[in-house]
Protein backbone atom coordinates (compact mmCIF):
# COMPACT_ATOMS: atom_id res chain seq x y z
CA UNK A 1 0.00 0.00 0.00
CA UNK A 2 1.46 3.36 -0.92
CA UNK A 3 1.13 6.20 1.52
CA UNK A 4 0.48 9.62 0.04
CA UNK A 5 2.65 12.47 1.29
CA UNK A 6 0.84 14.26 4.10
CA UNK A 7 0.94 17.82 5.21
CA UNK A 8 0.22 18.13 8.96
CA UNK A 9 -0.38 21.72 9.99
CA UNK A 10 -1.21 23.48 13.25
CA UNK A 11 -4.46 25.39 12.83
CA UNK A 12 -6.32 27.74 15.17
CA UNK A 13 -2.96 28.70 16.60
CA UNK A 14 -2.48 31.19 19.45
CA UNK A 15 0.47 33.59 19.10
CA UNK A 16 2.82 33.60 22.07
CA UNK A 17 5.87 35.82 21.92
CA UNK A 18 8.69 36.06 24.44
CA UNK A 19 11.71 38.34 24.32
CA UNK A 20 14.41 39.80 26.53
CA UNK A 21 14.03 43.54 26.87
CA UNK A 22 17.28 45.24 25.91
CA UNK A 23 17.19 47.71 28.78
CA UNK A 24 16.29 45.18 31.45
CA UNK A 25 19.62 45.04 33.22
CA UNK A 26 19.49 48.71 34.13
CA UNK A 27 15.74 48.81 34.53
CA UNK A 28 15.06 46.00 36.96
CA UNK A 29 17.00 47.24 40.03
CA UNK A 30 15.21 50.58 39.78
CA UNK A 31 11.83 48.88 39.36
CA UNK A 32 12.47 46.58 42.29
CA UNK A 33 13.28 49.53 44.53
CA UNK A 34 10.22 51.42 43.34
CA UNK A 35 7.84 48.49 43.70
CA UNK A 36 9.32 47.54 47.06
CA UNK A 37 8.46 50.97 48.38
CA UNK A 38 4.97 50.92 46.90
CA UNK A 39 3.70 47.46 47.66
CA UNK A 40 1.50 49.09 50.25
CA UNK A 41 -2.18 49.57 50.90
CA UNK A 42 -2.01 53.04 49.37
CA UNK A 43 -1.09 51.58 45.98
CA UNK A 44 -3.10 48.36 46.13
CA UNK A 45 -5.97 47.91 43.67
CA UNK A 46 -8.97 48.17 45.97
CA UNK A 47 -11.25 46.66 43.31
CA UNK A 48 -9.56 43.30 43.75
CA UNK A 49 -9.87 40.95 46.69
CA UNK A 50 -7.04 41.60 49.13
CA UNK A 51 -4.57 38.75 49.43
CA UNK A 52 -1.68 38.90 51.91
CA UNK A 53 0.38 36.63 49.66
CA UNK A 54 -0.29 38.38 46.37
CA UNK A 55 -0.07 42.15 46.00
CA UNK A 56 -1.63 43.77 42.95
CA UNK A 57 -1.17 47.49 42.44
CA UNK A 58 -3.62 49.80 40.75
CA UNK A 59 -3.47 49.74 36.99
CA UNK A 60 -1.85 53.14 36.63
CA UNK A 61 1.81 52.14 36.58
CA UNK A 62 2.39 53.55 33.09
CA UNK A 63 1.23 56.95 34.33
CA UNK A 64 3.78 57.16 37.14
CA UNK A 65 6.25 60.02 36.61
CA UNK A 66 9.33 58.16 37.86
CA UNK A 67 11.97 57.54 35.17
CA UNK A 68 11.96 53.79 35.84
CA UNK A 69 8.22 53.61 35.16
CA UNK A 70 8.55 55.72 32.02
CA UNK A 71 11.45 53.60 30.75
CA UNK A 72 9.48 50.45 31.47
CA UNK A 73 6.53 51.78 29.50
CA UNK A 74 8.75 52.51 26.51
CA UNK A 75 10.38 49.09 26.62
CA UNK A 76 7.10 47.21 27.04
CA UNK A 77 5.28 49.13 24.30
CA UNK A 78 8.20 48.63 21.95
CA UNK A 79 8.24 44.89 22.55
CA UNK A 80 4.47 44.52 22.22
CA UNK A 81 4.43 46.51 18.99
CA UNK A 82 7.10 44.21 17.58
CA UNK A 83 5.13 41.19 18.73
CA UNK A 84 1.92 42.42 17.13
CA UNK A 85 3.73 43.17 13.90
CA UNK A 86 5.23 39.70 13.90
CA UNK A 87 1.86 38.01 14.44
CA UNK A 88 -0.33 40.15 12.21
CA UNK A 89 -0.62 41.04 8.54
CA UNK A 90 -0.39 44.76 9.27
CA UNK A 91 2.20 46.60 7.24
CA UNK A 92 4.57 48.94 9.02
CA UNK A 93 2.77 51.92 7.50
CA UNK A 94 -0.61 50.65 8.67
CA UNK A 95 0.76 49.91 12.10
CA UNK A 96 2.26 53.40 12.38
CA UNK A 97 -1.24 54.83 12.00
CA UNK A 98 -2.52 53.08 15.12
CA UNK A 99 -2.67 54.62 18.56
CA UNK A 100 -1.66 52.29 21.35
CA UNK A 101 -3.52 52.40 24.64
CA UNK A 102 -2.05 50.56 27.61
CA UNK A 103 -2.58 50.04 31.30
CA UNK A 104 -0.27 48.22 33.65
CA UNK A 105 0.14 47.18 37.25
CA UNK A 106 2.84 45.45 39.22
CA UNK A 107 2.23 42.14 40.93
CA UNK A 108 4.17 40.63 43.81
CA UNK A 109 3.53 36.93 44.40
CA UNK A 110 5.02 36.06 47.74
CA UNK A 111 6.09 32.58 48.90
CA UNK A 112 3.01 30.33 49.07
CA UNK A 113 1.04 32.90 47.10
CA UNK A 114 -0.61 32.47 43.72
CA UNK A 115 -2.49 34.60 41.22
CA UNK A 116 -5.91 33.25 40.26
CA UNK A 117 -6.73 32.63 36.63
CA UNK A 118 -8.28 35.42 34.61
CA UNK A 119 -8.39 36.78 31.11
CA UNK A 120 -8.06 40.48 30.42
CA UNK A 121 -11.12 42.39 29.23
CA UNK A 122 -11.21 45.35 26.85
CA UNK A 123 -7.82 44.67 25.41
CA UNK A 124 -6.37 42.72 22.53
CA UNK A 125 -2.98 41.86 24.02
CA UNK A 126 -1.63 40.99 27.42
CA UNK A 127 2.03 41.43 28.32
CA UNK A 128 3.80 40.08 31.37
CA UNK A 129 7.24 41.44 32.17
CA UNK A 130 9.42 39.74 34.75
CA UNK A 131 11.32 41.89 37.25
CA UNK A 132 12.41 39.26 39.78
CA UNK A 133 11.92 35.55 40.38
CA UNK A 134 12.51 33.14 43.23
CA UNK A 135 15.18 30.51 42.66
CA UNK A 136 13.82 27.53 40.70
CA UNK A 137 12.36 24.95 43.03
CA UNK A 138 14.31 21.68 42.81
CA UNK A 139 11.27 19.43 42.56
CA UNK A 140 8.31 21.70 41.77
CA UNK A 141 8.52 22.53 38.10
CA UNK A 142 5.50 24.82 38.07
CA UNK A 143 6.49 26.88 41.10
CA UNK A 144 5.75 30.55 40.33
CA UNK A 145 5.21 29.73 36.67
CA UNK A 146 2.70 31.50 34.50
CA UNK A 147 0.17 28.96 33.29
CA UNK A 148 -1.77 29.78 30.12
CA UNK A 149 -4.99 27.88 29.83
CA UNK A 150 -5.90 25.61 26.97
CA UNK A 151 -8.37 27.26 24.60
CA UNK A 152 -9.42 24.20 22.59
CA UNK A 153 -12.15 22.78 24.76
CA UNK A 154 -12.59 19.66 22.71
CA UNK A 155 -10.79 17.08 24.80
CA UNK A 156 -13.84 15.25 26.08
CA UNK A 157 -13.57 12.27 23.80
CA UNK A 158 -10.19 10.60 24.00
CA UNK A 159 -9.08 7.26 22.64
CA UNK A 160 -5.72 5.62 22.18
CA UNK A 161 -4.95 7.68 19.09
CA UNK A 162 -5.72 11.22 20.22
CA UNK A 163 -4.65 10.99 23.86
CA UNK A 164 -0.96 11.21 22.98
CA UNK A 165 -0.84 13.86 20.31
CA UNK A 166 2.51 15.56 19.93
CA UNK A 167 3.12 19.29 20.41
CA UNK A 168 1.60 21.60 19.31
CA UNK A 169 -1.43 19.37 18.83
CA UNK A 170 -1.63 17.86 22.33
CA UNK A 171 -4.31 19.55 24.43
CA UNK A 172 -3.25 20.98 27.75
CA UNK A 173 -2.19 24.14 29.51
CA UNK A 174 1.08 25.82 28.57
CA UNK A 175 3.62 27.14 31.04
CA UNK A 176 5.95 30.13 30.81
CA UNK A 177 8.74 30.30 33.35
CA UNK A 178 9.42 33.99 33.91
CA UNK A 179 13.04 35.07 33.65
CA UNK A 180 14.09 38.53 34.87
CA UNK A 181 14.15 40.89 31.94
CA UNK A 182 11.92 38.71 29.78
CA UNK A 183 8.51 39.72 28.49
CA UNK A 184 5.73 37.43 27.29
CA UNK A 185 3.02 38.69 24.96
CA UNK A 186 -0.16 36.82 24.14
CA UNK A 187 -3.81 37.53 23.28
CA UNK A 188 -5.70 39.13 26.14
CA UNK A 189 -8.44 36.54 25.78
CA UNK A 190 -6.17 33.77 27.08
CA UNK A 191 -6.90 32.81 30.68
CA UNK A 192 -3.70 32.76 32.68
CA UNK A 193 -2.61 32.40 36.27
CA UNK A 194 0.52 32.31 38.37
CA UNK A 195 0.94 28.90 39.96
CA UNK A 196 1.75 28.76 43.63
CA UNK A 197 5.16 30.18 44.45
CA UNK A 198 6.99 27.37 46.29
CA UNK A 199 10.19 29.42 46.49
CA UNK A 200 11.49 31.50 49.36
CA UNK A 201 11.52 34.84 47.52
CA UNK A 202 8.97 36.99 45.73
CA UNK A 203 7.99 36.76 42.09
CA UNK A 204 7.67 40.31 40.77
CA UNK A 205 5.86 40.88 37.49
CA UNK A 206 4.44 43.77 35.53
CA UNK A 207 1.10 42.92 33.93
CA UNK A 208 -0.02 45.15 31.08
CA UNK A 209 -3.06 45.10 28.83
CA UNK A 210 -2.95 46.85 25.52
CA UNK A 211 -5.16 47.75 22.59
CA UNK A 212 -4.62 49.60 19.36
CA UNK A 213 -7.05 52.20 18.07
CA UNK A 214 -7.45 52.94 14.39
CA UNK A 215 -8.04 56.64 13.60
CA UNK A 216 -11.37 55.80 11.96
CA UNK A 217 -12.46 53.46 14.74
CA UNK A 218 -15.49 54.24 16.87
CA UNK A 219 -14.67 55.07 20.47
CA UNK A 220 -13.65 52.15 22.62
CA UNK A 221 -15.37 51.77 25.99
CA UNK A 222 -13.35 53.09 28.91
CA UNK A 223 -11.12 50.51 30.60
Amino acid sequence: MSVPPLSVNPLFAVPFISALLPGAQALNPALLALFGARATEAYRDGQLKPDPLCFRSREDLFEWPEPAAANLRGEVLGAVCQAVMAASTLTEAEFDGLAVQARARFVVVRPNGALPAASVPLASWCALYCVAVPAPHPSRADSAAVRLYETRLANMFLDASNSQLRPPFAPGHQVWHPVPGEIAVFPASIMHEVALNRGDRDLVLVAARLRFAHPRMEALPPW
Binding site: K49, S119, P121, N155, A195
Partner: protein
Protein backbone atom coordinates in the same frame (compact mmCIF):
# COMPACT_ATOMS: atom_id res chain seq x y z
CA UNK B 1 -43.33 60.07 21.12
CA UNK B 2 -42.01 57.24 23.26
CA UNK B 3 -43.43 53.84 22.44
CA UNK B 4 -44.65 51.70 25.31
CA UNK B 5 -42.16 48.96 26.20
CA UNK B 6 -42.55 45.75 24.27
CA UNK B 7 -43.27 42.83 26.62
CA UNK B 8 -40.09 40.76 26.68
CA UNK B 9 -39.39 37.23 27.77
CA UNK B 10 -35.89 37.14 29.24
CA UNK B 11 -34.50 33.65 29.70
CA UNK B 12 -31.15 31.98 30.34
CA UNK B 13 -29.92 30.02 27.33
CA UNK B 14 -26.91 27.75 26.85
CA UNK B 15 -27.33 26.87 30.52
CA UNK B 16 -25.10 24.43 32.41
CA UNK B 17 -26.85 22.16 34.92
CA UNK B 18 -25.38 22.28 38.41
CA UNK B 19 -26.99 20.32 41.24
CA UNK B 20 -26.12 21.10 44.83
CA UNK B 21 -27.30 19.28 47.92
CA UNK B 22 -26.36 18.19 51.36
CA UNK B 23 -26.43 14.65 52.68
CA UNK B 24 -28.73 14.72 55.72
CA UNK B 25 -27.28 13.63 59.05
CA UNK B 26 -23.80 13.35 57.55
CA UNK B 27 -21.85 14.10 60.73
CA UNK B 28 -21.20 10.52 61.89
CA UNK B 29 -20.62 9.37 58.31
CA UNK B 30 -18.05 12.07 57.75
CA UNK B 31 -16.18 11.24 60.95
CA UNK B 32 -15.91 7.62 59.82
CA UNK B 33 -14.87 8.64 56.34
CA UNK B 34 -12.29 11.06 57.67
CA UNK B 35 -10.67 8.46 59.89
CA UNK B 36 -10.59 5.89 57.10
CA UNK B 37 -9.33 8.22 54.39
CA UNK B 38 -6.61 9.74 56.55
CA UNK B 39 -5.46 6.24 57.54
CA UNK B 40 -5.13 5.39 53.85
CA UNK B 41 -3.35 8.56 52.78
CA UNK B 42 -0.31 6.49 51.86
CA UNK B 43 1.65 5.16 48.89
CA UNK B 44 -0.37 1.97 48.75
CA UNK B 45 -3.51 3.92 47.98
CA UNK B 46 -1.98 6.81 46.02
CA UNK B 47 -2.98 7.22 42.37
CA UNK B 48 -0.04 5.62 40.51
CA UNK B 49 -0.81 7.38 37.22
CA UNK B 50 -1.83 10.96 37.97
CA UNK B 51 -2.90 13.00 34.97
CA UNK B 52 -1.47 16.21 36.43
CA UNK B 53 1.81 17.05 38.10
CA UNK B 54 1.32 15.60 41.60
CA UNK B 55 1.72 17.91 44.55
CA UNK B 56 3.09 17.01 47.94
CA UNK B 57 0.35 19.00 49.63
CA UNK B 58 -2.54 17.30 47.85
CA UNK B 59 -2.89 13.54 48.10
CA UNK B 60 -4.86 11.84 45.34
CA UNK B 61 -6.00 8.26 45.81
CA UNK B 62 -6.54 5.51 43.27
CA UNK B 63 -9.83 5.71 41.39
CA UNK B 64 -11.38 2.62 42.98
CA UNK B 65 -12.76 4.17 46.14
CA UNK B 66 -16.33 2.97 45.66
CA UNK B 67 -15.08 -0.62 45.42
CA UNK B 68 -13.89 -0.52 49.01
CA UNK B 69 -16.14 -2.71 51.16
CA UNK B 70 -16.24 -0.50 54.25
CA UNK B 71 -19.76 0.47 55.29
CA UNK B 72 -19.08 4.21 55.33
CA UNK B 73 -17.74 4.06 51.76
CA UNK B 74 -20.76 2.12 50.58
CA UNK B 75 -23.10 4.55 52.32
CA UNK B 76 -21.35 7.45 50.58
CA UNK B 77 -21.48 5.56 47.29
CA UNK B 78 -25.25 5.23 47.54
CA UNK B 79 -25.66 8.89 48.47
CA UNK B 80 -23.41 10.24 45.71
CA UNK B 81 -24.54 8.01 42.86
CA UNK B 82 -28.21 8.44 43.75
CA UNK B 83 -27.63 12.18 43.71
CA UNK B 84 -26.01 11.96 40.29
CA UNK B 85 -28.99 9.96 39.03
CA UNK B 86 -31.36 12.57 40.45
CA UNK B 87 -29.40 15.34 38.72
CA UNK B 88 -29.67 13.44 35.43
CA UNK B 89 -33.42 13.03 35.84
CA UNK B 90 -33.95 16.66 36.75
CA UNK B 91 -31.87 18.07 33.93
CA UNK B 92 -32.66 15.68 31.07
CA UNK B 93 -35.64 14.19 29.30
CA UNK B 94 -34.71 10.69 30.44
CA UNK B 95 -37.46 8.99 32.41
CA UNK B 96 -36.79 7.01 35.60
CA UNK B 97 -37.67 3.84 33.70
CA UNK B 98 -35.17 4.61 30.97
CA UNK B 99 -32.50 5.48 33.51
CA UNK B 100 -33.09 2.25 35.39
CA UNK B 101 -32.15 0.31 32.26
CA UNK B 102 -28.75 2.00 32.07
CA UNK B 103 -25.60 0.96 33.88
CA UNK B 104 -23.90 3.69 35.88
CA UNK B 105 -20.10 3.42 35.82
CA UNK B 106 -17.83 5.47 38.02
CA UNK B 107 -14.25 6.35 38.82
CA UNK B 108 -14.09 7.65 42.36
CA UNK B 109 -11.20 8.91 44.44
CA UNK B 110 -10.40 11.13 47.40
CA UNK B 111 -8.21 14.18 47.87
CA UNK B 112 -6.57 15.34 51.06
CA UNK B 113 -5.23 18.89 50.80
CA UNK B 114 -2.94 20.41 53.37
CA UNK B 115 -1.40 23.90 53.68
CA UNK B 116 -0.82 25.43 50.21
CA UNK B 117 -2.31 22.41 48.45
CA UNK B 118 -4.29 23.11 45.29
CA UNK B 119 -5.39 21.40 42.09
CA UNK B 120 -4.87 22.84 38.66
CA UNK B 121 -7.82 23.64 36.36
CA UNK B 122 -9.00 20.56 34.50
CA UNK B 123 -12.06 18.76 33.21
CA UNK B 124 -12.85 15.05 32.94
CA UNK B 125 -12.78 13.49 29.49
CA UNK B 126 -14.77 10.32 28.87
CA UNK B 127 -17.34 11.02 31.53
CA UNK B 128 -20.70 12.76 31.41
CA UNK B 129 -21.28 13.74 35.03
CA UNK B 130 -18.88 14.54 37.86
CA UNK B 131 -19.52 15.19 41.51
CA UNK B 132 -17.57 16.41 44.51
CA UNK B 133 -18.51 15.58 48.09
CA UNK B 134 -17.02 17.40 51.05
CA UNK B 135 -15.96 15.18 53.94
CA UNK B 136 -14.13 17.91 55.77
CA UNK B 137 -13.97 21.55 54.70
CA UNK B 138 -10.82 22.33 56.62
CA UNK B 139 -10.05 25.44 58.58
CA UNK B 140 -11.39 28.65 57.08
CA UNK B 141 -8.85 31.46 57.13
CA UNK B 142 -10.23 34.98 57.23
CA UNK B 143 -7.27 36.57 55.51
CA UNK B 144 -7.50 34.06 52.64
CA UNK B 145 -11.18 34.12 51.68
CA UNK B 146 -10.53 31.94 48.61
CA UNK B 147 -8.72 29.26 50.58
CA UNK B 148 -9.68 25.85 49.22
CA UNK B 149 -12.42 27.25 47.00
CA UNK B 150 -13.79 24.87 44.38
CA UNK B 151 -13.89 27.14 41.35
CA UNK B 152 -15.72 26.40 38.12
CA UNK B 153 -14.79 28.45 35.10
CA UNK B 154 -17.45 30.11 33.01
CA UNK B 155 -18.14 28.06 29.90
CA UNK B 156 -18.48 31.16 27.75
CA UNK B 157 -14.83 32.07 27.12
CA UNK B 158 -14.46 35.48 25.59
CA UNK B 159 -17.92 36.59 26.66
CA UNK B 160 -16.40 39.18 29.00
CA UNK B 161 -13.78 40.46 26.57
CA UNK B 162 -15.86 43.44 25.51
CA UNK B 163 -17.41 45.24 28.44
CA UNK B 164 -19.28 48.50 28.59
CA UNK B 165 -21.41 50.03 31.31
CA UNK B 166 -24.37 47.79 30.56
CA UNK B 167 -22.90 44.31 30.25
CA UNK B 168 -20.35 44.79 33.01
CA UNK B 169 -23.02 44.31 35.66
CA UNK B 170 -25.26 41.59 34.34
CA UNK B 171 -27.29 39.89 37.01
CA UNK B 172 -27.17 36.19 37.82
CA UNK B 173 -27.35 33.87 35.91
CA UNK B 174 -26.19 36.08 33.05
CA UNK B 175 -23.07 37.54 34.68
CA UNK B 176 -19.86 36.16 33.21
CA UNK B 177 -17.72 35.02 36.10
CA UNK B 178 -16.45 31.86 37.73
CA UNK B 179 -18.72 29.92 40.06
CA UNK B 180 -17.13 29.37 43.46
CA UNK B 181 -18.07 26.96 46.21
CA UNK B 182 -16.82 27.24 49.75
CA UNK B 183 -17.67 23.61 50.39
CA UNK B 184 -19.34 22.65 53.63
CA UNK B 185 -19.22 19.22 55.22
CA UNK B 186 -21.77 16.93 53.67
CA UNK B 187 -22.26 19.14 50.62
CA UNK B 188 -22.34 17.58 47.18
CA UNK B 189 -21.94 19.42 43.88
CA UNK B 190 -22.85 17.67 40.62
CA UNK B 191 -21.89 19.12 37.26
CA UNK B 192 -21.21 18.15 33.64
CA UNK B 193 -17.74 16.66 33.34
CA UNK B 194 -16.73 19.06 30.56
CA UNK B 195 -16.73 22.08 32.88
CA UNK B 196 -13.21 23.20 33.78
CA UNK B 197 -12.64 23.57 37.50
CA UNK B 198 -9.84 23.94 40.01
CA UNK B 199 -9.20 23.97 43.73
CA UNK B 200 -7.62 27.22 44.91
CA UNK B 201 -4.70 26.95 47.35
CA UNK B 202 -5.85 25.80 50.77
CA UNK B 203 -4.35 27.78 53.64
CA UNK B 204 -5.88 26.01 56.63
CA UNK B 205 -3.58 24.41 59.18
CA UNK B 206 -5.50 21.14 59.08
CA UNK B 207 -6.72 18.98 56.20
CA UNK B 208 -9.40 19.50 53.57
CA UNK B 209 -10.90 16.18 52.45
CA UNK B 210 -13.11 15.64 49.43
CA UNK B 211 -14.37 12.68 47.44
CA UNK B 212 -14.82 13.07 43.71
CA UNK B 213 -16.49 10.84 41.17
CA UNK B 214 -16.72 10.71 37.39
CA UNK B 215 -19.78 8.93 36.07
CA UNK B 216 -20.90 7.63 32.72
CA UNK B 217 -23.85 5.55 31.61
CA UNK B 218 -24.08 2.71 29.13
Amino acid sequence: MVSPPVPLALSPQFAVPFAVGRVPGCGPLNRELEALLLARENDQHRNPTPTHVPQLETFESRFDLFRWPEACIQELRRAMLTSVAQAVLQSSEITPEQLSRLTLHNHTWFHVSRYAGSFVAHNHPLASWSAVYCVRAGESVSEHPDSGVLRFFDTRPGADAYLDATNRRLRAPFAVRPLEFHLEEGQIVIFPSYVFHEVAPFYGRDARITVATNCWFT
